[in-house]
Symmetry: C2
Subunit: 327 residues, 2 copies
Amino acid sequence: MQDIADKLGISKGTVSLVLSGKAKGSRVSEEMCLKVKQTADEMNYYPNEIARSLSLGMTMSIGVIVTDISNEFFGNLTFHIQERAKKYGYTVIITNTNESLEEFNNAVTILLNKQIDGIIFVPVAGGQKIVEKIMKRHLPMVQIDRYFPDIKSSYIIVDNYKISVEVTELLIKKGYRRIAAVCYDINLNALTERRQGYIDALNRYELLDPALIKNINYADQEEEIKRAIIDLKNNPNKVDAIFFCSRRVFITGVKYMHKEGIKIPEEMEVVCFDKIDSFSIANIPINYIEQPIKKMGEKAVDILMEQINGANDITQYVFDAEIKHFS
Amino acid sequence: MQDIADKLGISKGTVSLVLSGKAKGSRVSEEMCLKVKQTADEMNYYPNEIARSLSLGMTMSIGVIVTDISNEFFGNLTFHIQERAKKYGYTVIITNTNESLEEFNNAVTILLNKQIDGIIFVPVAGGQKIVEKIMKRHLPMVQIDRYFPDIKSSYIIVDNYKISVEVTELLIKKGYRRIAAVCYDINLNALTERRQGYIDALNRYELLDPALIKNINYADQEEEIKRAIIDLKNNPNKVDAIFFCSRRVFITGVKYMHKEGIKIPEEMEVVCFDKIDSFSIANIPINYIEQPIKKMGEKAVDILMEQINGANDITQYVFDAEIKHFS
DNA sequence: ATGAAAGCGCTAACAT
DNA sequence: ATGTTAGCGCTTTCAT
């Protein structure tokens, strides 16, 4: 900037005005404007956003913390967040927690230090203390996919409970009576609500059989899911349908259903929580629950931007998921 | 920092020394060190990385440009890039091009302006001019997954040609004679080489039948793939196997094979270029080609870091993919 | 062992 | 319409 000012024999300030588009209102002569822009081009000038950020006190970037970007759901979610942020002229810095508290903490620290203007994050179980760091800084934030009930902030979630009730009722209405559920045993509202929805729906019809609820330990899931499937197959009182409470569980579960020779849907129907973009290779009918990922991501950005622009209200969106059918 | 200096009645410089860990070598008294660290804690001090970056002339972030982060392959790739970068203390800024030249250009500009220390990117067809901007700045860079042959820089790719020859030969050795290929018609080396490998292998055995090569237009893929499958099914001279040149094409292709009632593998075997983490829901044997995504991502970061640390040599890695079998 | 001050590249308020 | 200057928060060299 100094260089181009020198070359034209004018001052740095003027150059800044022109280049940052604040030369309107006849602040700077047309002629000068043109000259400046031209020389900037010639000298192949690129603004230093870091300096700009330091001076302005804002970075035009937001942080996004997800569990694992290679996961189909979060991959999609971050994609939509990014695309939306682009529209606001914002850049996104994504980090993964891998569901680890330590990594969650690191991510938050790094992002805060990088002076991001706001943050969208998927909470990690037990991370309340960490979130308070964000709040202390009065940094705009929105929780997504999950939330800490005791933290007063904006969030975007899906009504996991409601849709789980609905899908279970759908199975009941289809005539199934022996409906199993395979879920992670993780203590996160997004997950426990799915199980609870299933339980409550079955209870309402007096169809609940606790033996049909399979809680899976995350670390040892392959083995545990396998055992669950075998167990369900061997249940003396034939099982009709299985509700898989998340994507990964579904994939592994169906794999062992195939291995055990369980015919889908003739012997058992299946429900998958979340859409998988390769359902079509399975050649079986699949009931699935689709979350409005795009809407969630976009809304999260919209809310965050409002906060960045000064809004103080906390906004909490609970979207409805949808039951769909693939065949 | 000033605040904590004031509070202790010492100077900003000293505080900086301590907090950035440069107080070793008895530069600052033990006692002072402790006091500073303590007050920093109490006052809940967080370093401003932006100011630090400006002063240091480096940001400790690298840019990553991929086609689309919600794509399974790129999702995995960026995940591994991030995890590796973490180890070096680096943050990653990811952007998507959606295969658009304009977005590619924007991404590069934004990243350059943000003063990233290096960049890893998946080139977009026709983007040579844009890449030159990066080179002009002498910014460390490495191309990944694809590369511009006429640009002299580091890259990490997979030998698409070789593995395609191998997988085709495998099919031939299995006894198949009528082997089809379904590929995008996009003009990118990563893709054309797959088709060429298939062609050359078949030619070598005098088994090539041009009618069995189906080139798919990206924009209209669903319909075109459907037609391709029907066409292959109706070929008077029964088709034995199909080589799907990429993930999406495979998913759609298999879907229509199911719809057309083509039995896999009894009537036709299938090959998928790329691994899909939900193969197991398909319950069919699948030959697939697995790229060493993790190694690719990590190596890209390693190379980039060497360059950032001053290495001038350009490093070009061509990894081998592997043929695997799912059943 | 610690202080003082310049400088990183830009913005913005104030002068002219 | 343009110039001058202080300052953003930190690092680092040179003094003390």
